[in-house]
Structures are given as structure tokens and as C-alpha cells.
Subunit: 112 residues, 2 copies
């Protein structure tokens, strides 16, 4: 979880993840798209790999990297516990709006 966040909390690595969202890519491809030198891209890929966010398949001299969704699913699960919080707020807002409408119709002041 924390490792996932640390891995994603770096602009270039986040960018790599976004690239891989569209499908697997070799390293050289990413070197071209990001404005980075090859060693740096390899290092970022190492970090992402250690975090379980990518997988490498060997193709001759090239390594084709693929996005692994498992850590993202984990993040999604973690967020679930917070989703309740804002849904709760939506409900409260709905209630408030409803109360305002009602009080308007009845020409009363909303209480609380």
C-alpha cells in the first residue's frame, strides 16, 4: 500500500503508469515519449517493478513492460473505507437541500 503510493508519487513514474495503461511497451518506446535518458527510465521501472506495479517480458534484447493492476486494486479497496465518508456527506447535503426547499414552500426557517 505505502510502497504503491511511494512508487506513484513521482511524476515520471506516474507518467509511465499512464503510458502502460494503453498497453505493454518496450523501454525504448518510453524513453522517447518521456523526456528522460534510458538509465533513468530503467531505474524508475525497477522501482515500479519492486512495487509490483509492472511486469517485464523478455523479447530478444528488449524487455516489454506490462502494467499489473493488483496494487491499484488494493488502492481501490483502501479508498473504499473513505468513499463512505463522502457519500455520507452527499446524503447530508441532500437532506439539507430538501429541508431548504420544504421550509421555502412552508415559509419556515430551516432548523439546526
Amino acid at each position: 500500500m505505502l510502497e504503491t503510493l511511494k512508487a506513484l508519487a513521482e511524476p515520471n513514474r506516474l507518467h509511465i503508469v499512464e503510458l502502460l495503461r494503453d498497453g505493454p511497451r518496450p523501454v525504448g518506446d518510453m524513453v522517447q515519449r518521456l523526456h528522460l535518458r534510458q538509465p533513468q527510465v530503467s531505474k524508475h521501472l525497477r522501482v515500479l517493478s519492486d512495487a509490483g506495479l509492472v511486469d517485464a517480458r523478455v523479447d530478444a534484447q528488449r524487455r516489454i513492460y506490462t502494467l499489473r493492476t493488483a496494487p491499484l486494486q488494493q488502492l481501490d479497496v483502501w479508498l473504499e473505507r473513505y468513499r463512505q465518508l463522502w457519500e455520507q456527506n452527499f446524503k447530508r447535503l441532500d437532506a439539507l437541500l430538501d429541508e431548504m426547499k420544504t421550509s421555502h414552500r412552508k415559509s419556515k426557517h430551516p432548523k439546526r
Copy 2:
């Protein structure tokens, strides 16, 4: 988005967020729970505040911090684009399992 990730990608700050999930708390309360000195907690709260993840309400000398869900909702939206990916994989897996069952019944080999 990136700022949110950077803010969360630090163990103590993540811990603070988890604490605030249960409701607002004054700084001193968090100092006791986390094994951190007061200045450090204040600084982490500063980072979280800059990222829009917390809000402070003044109560005499104390400041009561509250979790703001907006950045987490944003994270949720970002994840949405990846959720499709693993749901796609689930479908593929379903299809494969289905095919295996079928081929077993018909005593055939699954194709491709």
C-alpha cells in the same frame, strides 16, 4: 493528484489521515498516538493542508483538524480509468474458465 499522492506517500502522514477518518482531532491527540514530536506532527499537517487533505478549525489554543475528502474523490476518479482494466481481465478469466469447462465436457482442447 500528484500532490495528493506525494502527501499520502509518507507513513506518518498516511497514519494521520487514517486517524482523521474516525473524526476530527486536535494536534495534541495525534502527537500522543503517533510516536512523533509535536513540531513534526504540525509540519506533516502543513503538508496535508497544502494538499487540501485536511482543514483546521480554531478552538482557543487548539486547532482541530478535519479530513477533507475532495482529493480522495479525485484519486477515486483517477482510479476509475484503471478499474476498467482489471474488470476486463475478470471477463477474460471468466471466458477462459467457461471455455475450460466446455472443452472438458466436450473432451476438446481449448483453442488459442
